[in-house]
Structures are given as structure tokens and as C-alpha cells.
Symmetry: C2
Subunit: 364 residues, 2 copies
């Protein structure tokens, strides 16, 4: 597989690029995309970079009916020295294969997939925005394309990578959010697909998000689907609490997605000798810690926002303001260090960064 | 909406039709499909019948990433008098709207959707196979098509109906199946999307099905996601047990799909004065009933197989043969009556049948 060469078909006309300060999230896509096909007889084959274009897919394709799909989310960052950096792409490709396994999708060659992503980013490297906090969002995904409406793993797939220049998540500095603890709906449950990054988990989350959004909450805090007691995740982020000097994050239990940011946060805290523990934590305990004045910080962690401080949580109509609603010191330090490493401003003690070559402008 | 006219664009060349005895399930599609678009500004608009063809969809369309999709499954039957019959289509369209609600998809006009389905079936009426037990499978589905990779309800959708001639489910008479009780994986959970017919539930079910299939089981028996004690469904069917003269089916609890066949079975049993009850039923109770010789029948109920007798269940490596592995009297009577009504051989005391006019061959 690694020896397969990636054909590049450059687009004839390049699109106009958006201004760095006018960037939204996920609405603008670059000039090219990567595609590779799978069939049961040929395996993964025909890897290629093509002009970004509409897909032609049969209406009976399984992805439209039975949701057999997985995806990843990562970013390419431009440093002040005009170098392109990826952040731990091997973790994303590992997770993609874990998701594949849960969804009965054939595994991809992780090394080759990183090569393909690097090549695509290189071809569209002049799309990486330069302004502070902006980046090029990378969306690898796999969809089941066999034209067959029967409930069974598909025999055909497409692995696709698209790129989208995205704006700074925080326009005026890191900004704490209010969250609502969700008591009715659940995102997923042990034995379900929560550990996998698959569409159904996100489809299941829309309703609670919509209801909470109308009440003015930025995100929903998901509880476990079994007892509705234990904290799982916040929106599409993992969650951390600092209680009485110790940082706590829910342990991986089969229904929580293992975030790359979560893993990096834990490593950094250990490196700094800040006590950090992965364990079950219930809403009762959190409420009690807050009541006792021991809840010092709460924050979400994920690729999009990196670190998202939480100023308030609302459970059963009780609002709990965390400290004075300001960003805590640990959240701030993690945000600065992680973005520092990502944008090449800080040293990278864990070898997290993977460099990408700029595509030669002449080739286009 | 109901006043919208459905444009019909007939295909230039009609495909060759398969022989009635060579029909598989869900691999062959007819000459036409119905499509209608939704946008936040226009609502559902532009209903049309087009030649069956590939869809052109942006790679960033939400359905590929966040699984926001719903579907239905129903059939058109040909009677001995060459009449076309649908079975309770209003129930399917109601359920589609319930699914829409859970998935934050805008509702469709149910009456108009039935009209559209009738028109499509009429246009492709010569695709309805004639052989005993065959039918035309109807697959209405809705996919989210907004080109935006953010987790939020889509602003664009397509409602599509495709048709597939399908063979007799039982080639040599109704055939009992062996099922495996699933202890590890769950299909869904209370607070999740189990009540909705959405792709993610089916994606989540593939892994357990695959493992059970390799061990020679036809279907998986799903337990509740909370306690893993109570029986929910079998594969893509609702389940019924006859214990000591009474028919029992798991009550609708928020994670079970309400089947049209399930509803019809309950109505028929009541009409026949056979005791029937919807209630929680656990595996312990089932095993005990079997042990005591009181488990008289078990069967699944769904559109595809109508009634699927269960000859054996395996739980924690214990095989329990139900009676002598033969089809029970109630299962047989239900199968004969339901298919009798569907194919117009029996009278229809509940007004379940909706007739469809044959498309005039001249018009093509
Ligand atoms: C459900 C969920 N949890 C957690 C995360 C955080 O993961 P990561 O840090 O890899 O972005 C994400 C986002 O990717 C997510 O979708
Ligand atoms: C999960 C599930 N349960 C039950 C059913 C049975 O429903 P119906 O009788 O409407 O076909 C189906 C099939 O449609 C299903 O997918």
C-alpha cells in the first residue's frame, strides 16, 4: 500500500481564497481533495488527488441508509517561519482505524493515509490562513458506497480527505462557556458506538444541543447512558475539572471518545507535575465540590477550540458559577502551551509535530 | 404542499427486469425515483419523479459526516386480480416524521408523501414482480445535504424514494431461525435514537450481527442498554413470545422501534381474542419459562419477513430449543393472515390496504 503512488490531477481554475479575518468554520473548501476507493476484491486502491468536486453516488449507497461512516478532525498550522505543521496525525489515523473496527469498515494503512494527507495539504498549502489562531482544518472520512439496501457491512467504501481554512475559535481571547447538564437525551452508551467517531453519535446529539442552545447554553454536558450519573463529555470535547488541586477527567469507559487533545492535556499535566487522574466522576460529586468551594476549574478539550474554559454549569435548573466565571490558570497554561506547540512558538518536548512541505507554486 | 404537482421526467430507456425467481433483496432498482428538496428558505419544494440515477452531492454534505438521516421501509404487493396494494403507508409516514423530529429534520407532509409514493409506484408498476411472495420494496429516505462540516442540524435536505423488486423471503415455506442473545454490544438506549429509524442505529448493530453470523446465528437478540436484562428487538424486527397461552411483546420504552408489523400483530391478536400484552420481559423470565415448558412460541415481526419464527435462542452459551423447532400455530396464523391481507387473498377488516393505480403503459 505504501508503495502506491498518489496521482495528482490539478484543478484548472483555482478558487478565490477568503480573507483571514472572514473565516467561518467548515463552510469553505480548498481546490483539491484526496480520494481512495475500496472494493472487496481490490482492497484500498486508486489513491488520487483530484479537484474538489461533487461526488456521484447511487441513491441506494449504504451510507445514506445505514450510517456506516467514520471520520476524523485535525488541523494544519502555519508557523511564523512559514512552516506547515500537523499535530499528532498518527493519533487521528489510529483512532480512525479503531472507529473502522467498530463499524465493520476495513482498516486503512495509517502511514499511507498520513502521507496522503501531507501531500494534499502540500498541494493546497497556499490555502492555510496566516492570521493568528487560524488554521487549515483537515477532514478525513470514510463512507460506505455499495448500492445495496440490506443491513450488512458494505463491500465498497471511499476514503476522502477535504480541507477547510478556519478562523480563530476565540476572536477576542479565550472565552468561557455556559453548559447544560443533559438529563433526558444521551449521546451513546457502553456497548454502543461512543468510542468511535461515527456519524450516528453526532446525529443523536443534535436534539439536546438544539434545546440547550435555545436556552442560551453553548454546549451540553453528557452523562452516562446507563445511570445518568457519571460525566462523560461536553459537546464534542472531553472534559476536565480541577478539584482541590487535582485535575480529574472521566476515565475511558467504552462510551467516551478518546480525544487527541485529552491525551495531550494529560501528558502535559504530568510533565508539569500537576496531579491528574482519570476516573469516574458523578454529578453529585461535582455539585458537592462546587458547594464546598473546591471546584477550581472546568474546561473542555478538543481540536476545534483546543481548550474551552467552562464558566457555569446548570443541572436540574440549578446554576453553578465556577469561580468568578473567568478562565482558570491551568486552562490558560494548557491553551497557551498547546497552541504554542501547534504554531511552532514553543518547543515540542513530545515530538508531537509533523512537518509538511509547501507545495511548489510553479507546479500549479 | 398537497397542491404541489409532481413533475414526471420519464427515462429514455427502460432497464431489463429481473426474473421473478431470480430476485434478491435490495440490489436491483427500478427505472425512476422520487425526489424533493428542502432548504430553510423554501421549505420542501420541487417534488419530481426522475430517471433513477446517481446523486451529485458535495463531499462536505452533512450526511457523510454527522449521520443526520432517516428512512422507511414498506412494500407494494400485486394481487391475483392484478391490483397494486400498499399496507398501512400512513403508519410509515407517521414514523418518518417521528424519526425526523428526533433527528432535527423538518417534517414532511405525510399525505403528500403517500401521494408521491403512489405516483412513483404507478409509474414503475410493471416492475412489481408477480410470483408468490414477491413484492416491490419501497425505500423512502431523507438525507442532510448542506455542505457544512459543523455539528448542527442541516439547512438542506433531500427526500428520496427508490423502489426495488424483491424476492420471496421464504423460498420453501416459512423457516424458523436461530438467534443469539447479545450481551456485549447494544443497538441503542433510552434517551438515544432507538425509537427513530435512523442510520446510526443500524451502523451500531453491524458488529454484533457479524460476530453472531460467523457463529451461525441468523439474528441477534438485543437487550436494553441500561441493565442488559430486558429484551428489546431481534435484528431488525420486533419480537413476540407466547408463554403459557399469552402473547407478550416488549413494551415501547424509548429505545424500541415501533414496527408497523408489531402494531398489526397486536391488533390481529386482539381481534382473535388471543391474550396479548405489551410489557417488560427479561431474559431470566424467558429462560425460566422455557425451563418450565411454558414457552410455546417465539417470533420476530417486520416488513421484510412479515413473521419470522424463532426455533432457538442462545444465551451465555446455553442453547434453548423452542418447542420442537417448528413454526408455532400463532406465528403461522399471523403470517397467513398478514400476507393474505397484503396480497388481497383475505378480507381487510381494519382498512389497512391502500390501492395504487397501475401506470398506463402508453404513457411511457
Ligand atoms: C465526541 C467528541 N469527544 C471529544 C472530542 C475531542 O477529540 P480531539 O481532541 O481528538 O479533537 C471530539 C472532537 O473531535 C468529539 O467529537
Ligand atoms: C430496528 C427495527 N425494529 C423493528 C422493525 C419492524 O418494523 P416494521 O414492522 O415497520 O417493518 C424494523 C424494520 O423495519 C427495524 O428496523
Amino acid at each position: 500500500m505504501e508503495s502506491q503512488t498518489i496521482q495528482v490531477d490539478h484543478c484548472a481554475v483555482r478558487k478565490e481564497k477568503p480573507k483571514s479575518d472572514q473565516l467561518d468554520f467548515g463552510r469553505i473548501f480548498t481546490d483539491h481533495m484526496f480520494i481512495m476507493d475500496y472494493s472487496d476484491d481490490l482492497g484500498w486502491h486508486d489513491p488520487r488527488i483530484e479537484p474538489y468536486q461533487q461526488l456521484s453516488i447511487d441513491p441506494s449507497a449504504m451510507v445514506f441508509h445505514y450510517g456506516q461512516s467514520v471520520f476524523e478532525g485535525m488541523k494544519a498550522y502555519l508557523t511564523a517561519e512559514d512552516e506547515i505543521q500537523l499535530f499528532r496525525p498518527e493519533k487521528n489515523m489510529q483512532r480512525l482505524n479503531n472507529s473502522n473496527d467498530r463499524l465493520c469498515i476495513p482498516p486503512i494503512d495509517e502511514k499511507f493515509a498520513i502521507q496522503a494527507i501531507k501531500k494534499l495539504v502540500s498541494v493546497d498549502s497556499d490555502w492555510i490562513p496566516e492570521a493568528e489562531g487560524t488554521s487549515l482544518y483537515i477532514r478525513p472520512f470514510i463512507i460506505s458506497t455499495e448500492p445495496y439496501i440490506g443491513v450488512a457491512p458494505s463491500l465498497h467504501y471511499k476514503f476522502i480527505v477535504i480541507l477547510s481554512p478556519v478562523g480563530a475559535y476565540y476572536k477576542e481571547g479565550i472565552n468561557p462557556i455556559k453548559i447544560a447538564v443533559e438529563n433526558e437525551f444521551v449521546r451513546t452508551v457502553k456497548g454502543g458506538t461512543g468510542e468511535a467517531k461515527t456519524g450516528g453519535n453526532y446525529a443523536a446529539s443534535l436534539k439536546a444541543q438544539e434545546i440547550a442552545g435555545k436556552k442560551g447554553f453553548a454546549q451540553v454536558l453528557w452523562l452516562d447512558g446507563v445511570e445518568k450519573k457519571y460525566i462523560e463529555e461536553v459537546g464534542s470535547m472531553n472534559i476536565f475539572f480541577k478539584i482541590n488541586g487535582e485535575v480529574i477527567t472521566p476515565e475511558l469507559n467504552g462510551s467516551i471518545l478518546e480525544g487527541v487533545t485529552r491525551n495531550s492535556v494529560i501528558q502535559l499535566l504530568k510533565y508539569w507535575d500537576v496531579p491528574v487522574v482519570e476516573r469516574k466522576i458523578g454529578m453529585e460529586e461535582l455539585q458537592q465540590a462546587h458547594h464546598d468551594g473546591l471546584l477550581e476549574e472546568a474546561f473542555g478539550a478538543g481540536t476545534a477550540a483546543v481548550i474551552s474554559p467552562i464558566s457555569q454549569f446548570t443541572w436540574n435548573n440549578n446554576d453553578s458559577l465556577i469561580k468568578d466565571g473567568k478562565t482558570g490558570a491551568i486552562a490558560k497554561r494548557l491553551y497557551d502551551t498547546l497552541t504554542g506547540i501547534q504554531y511552532g512558538r514553543e518547543k515540542d518536548p513530545f515530538d508531537w509535530i509533523v512537518k509538511v512541505e509547501k507545495g511548489s507554486k510553479i507546479a500549479h
